[in-house]
Symmetry: C2
Subunit: 325 residues, 2 copies
């Protein structure tokens, strides 16, 4: 049966032959997969590079995420880092290590998720190379590339006192999804449970999708750059922690308005991969950005005028308990 073929039976070459046809080509690709390396166009003589790894256990549970979710999220989180520089994503390379007894359908599903995320979030972006290996821990490492279109990159360090602070994308949804999964998608022994997760996804589609297969506002990175954004960051570790990074890099304080943000749960929840940016006062904000505060003199993050000291975010080295599922 095709569906039950294992990587260990197929071998590396046959596995690659099954996967590559599922992946999209990149518009920027001069030489794609199949040689020692790929060759890509850098139209303005520069390219943006970011890398991020997803590990079974600290980063996902196979009981909760489908293979398609994993490919989608691996692409989406890396595309978001490219977008946060004000760049258009152009290509990915993907290294995957999987147990030898994994069914080929696992890698096919990951490939389909990578493809569908590229098509949906960053049309023209494709997969130009990769590596397959074997490991007892499913591991997906993506490196993503982007094109600045002749513009300066939007760094964390450019925020100016008086700028408007704005966000595009959800706040706190991904963390809410994770909380729901830990509360309700476990069995009586406390282990992640696939059937419970499926039921939960039907009940809370937005929050669960935000956690398992996020749709960050990739195109808004370029929109922010074109509108004159002075600083920008991908919200991977929560609004407050990432706002503090802009404050530190720019030697300013970020003053947030809780009424504009809505819920306090939005302050610290990570993994939204929304875009936080600063714009000169009076800028007409790009379509999906909404103002949530201002850049002021000082340091750190203020909420309604009061310093906000809670750390937020998540540190895999400190906080992962070793559970997988």
């Amino acid at each position: 049966m095709i569906a039950s073929e294992r990587l260990g039976q197929l071998g590396e070459s046959a596995t690659l032959a099954r996967i590559f046809p599922r992946l999209p080509a990149a518009a920027a690709q001069l030489i794609g997969p199949g040689d020692d390396a790929a060759v890509l166009v850098a139209a303005d003589g520069r390219y943006v590079v970011t890398t991020d790894m997803m590990i079974h256990g600290p980063d996902f549970r196979l009981a909760w995420s489908s293979a398609h979710d994993l490919g989608w999220k691996a692409a989406a989180t890396n595309l978001s880092d490219v977008a946060a520089m004000g760049a258009t994503p152009t290509a990915l390379v993907v290294a995957i290590a999987a147990p030898a007894d994994s069914p080929i359908s696992l890698l096919e599903g990951i490939a389909d998720g990578l493809r569908d995320a590229c098509v949906a979030l960053a049309p023209g972006c494709g997969v130009v190379g990769g590596d397959l290996s074997v490991s007892s821990v499913l591991t997906i490492a993506v490196t993503a590339f982007g094109d600045l279109g002749g513009r300066a990159p939007v760094l964390r360090s450019g925020a100016q006192v008086g700028d408007t602070v704005a966000v595009s994308g959800a706040l706190g949804q991904a963390a809410l999804g994770l909380q729901l999964l830990f509360e309700s998608a476990i069995d009586d022994a406390g282990e992640p449970d696939a059937a419970c997760a499926a039921a939960l996804r039907a009940e809370h589609p937005a929050a669960i999708a935000a956690q398992l297969a996020p749709t960050p506002p990739i195109a808004d990175g370029v929109a922010a750059a074109l509108a004159g954004a002075t600083a920008m960051i991908d919200l991977s570790d929560g609004l407050v922690l990432d706002a503090r990074r802009i404050a530190l890099a720019s030697s300013v304080a970020i003053a947030l308005d809780s009424a504009a943000i809505g819920s306090r749960a939005a302050f610290t929840g990570g993994e939204d991969h929304s875009l936080l940016a600063t714009f000169p006062a009076g800028t007409m904000l790009p379509a999906r950005f909404r103002a949530i505060g201002a850049v002021v003199a000082g340091d750190g993050v203020l909420v309604d005028g009061t310093p906000y000291e809670e750390r937020g975010g998540w540190d895999p080295y400190r906080e992962w308990d070793g559970a997988v599922g």
Copy 2:
């Protein structure tokens, strides 16, 4: 005690702060580590990209490789794929997943090995970004970039009938080193043993270094391109298997001369990361290349005129037995 600090105590930010100062900057770097992504120069409007992952177990044993070896080999093997395109390596991004109870000295040693390999093998190449994560299996994923200097990339598909086949670098040394390790660097129970490996390294320095910390001829990639190489490949899976890849991509046969190669052990041993290239007949070969055969009509690989059918190479999905050490 500094030496015994664990990643789980330090956390991700403090660990990164300890590692990044050890890494070399890249000459091509416009924006380096610390923002959402790096920005690199692509001087001729193109860039070369390759990615490769090393996993504890199938790819290395901590009982045999020092942390410095791991960083060195992770850099060297990726630099070699860039060189095989005829490009100069410019930068690396590095994603590492390590157990939370790893000492910080593990990551410091990997960083030092990455740095020393860049300095020794590809001066000007640096580390421009990365990601740290936690996993029960030590995993190192490197993506490497290169600059073609205005030249066409040297592909696997350009070999022409009549071309000279030449190699730069050792053949079979890395496989010999691995064989010695499996024979003599194990304890009475058959487990990898650090003390035995150290003794073996003193006895057979060239072969053990070729396996654990290879020094592929990176600069010879550009030298071959400048000399007019028509095809080139990094010898990662052994001479015959990789020669067969050139033969297939170029629709020719590769005829090897066993007397020029020396030992038959050199035919199938993998991981040398030497460069196999084809040059128009009569080309003055670049300094360290030596002729070992010719391109002829047909398909596959011939040795002394006879088709050579042995597969060679190594497939982690089929052949890794799950041991670590």
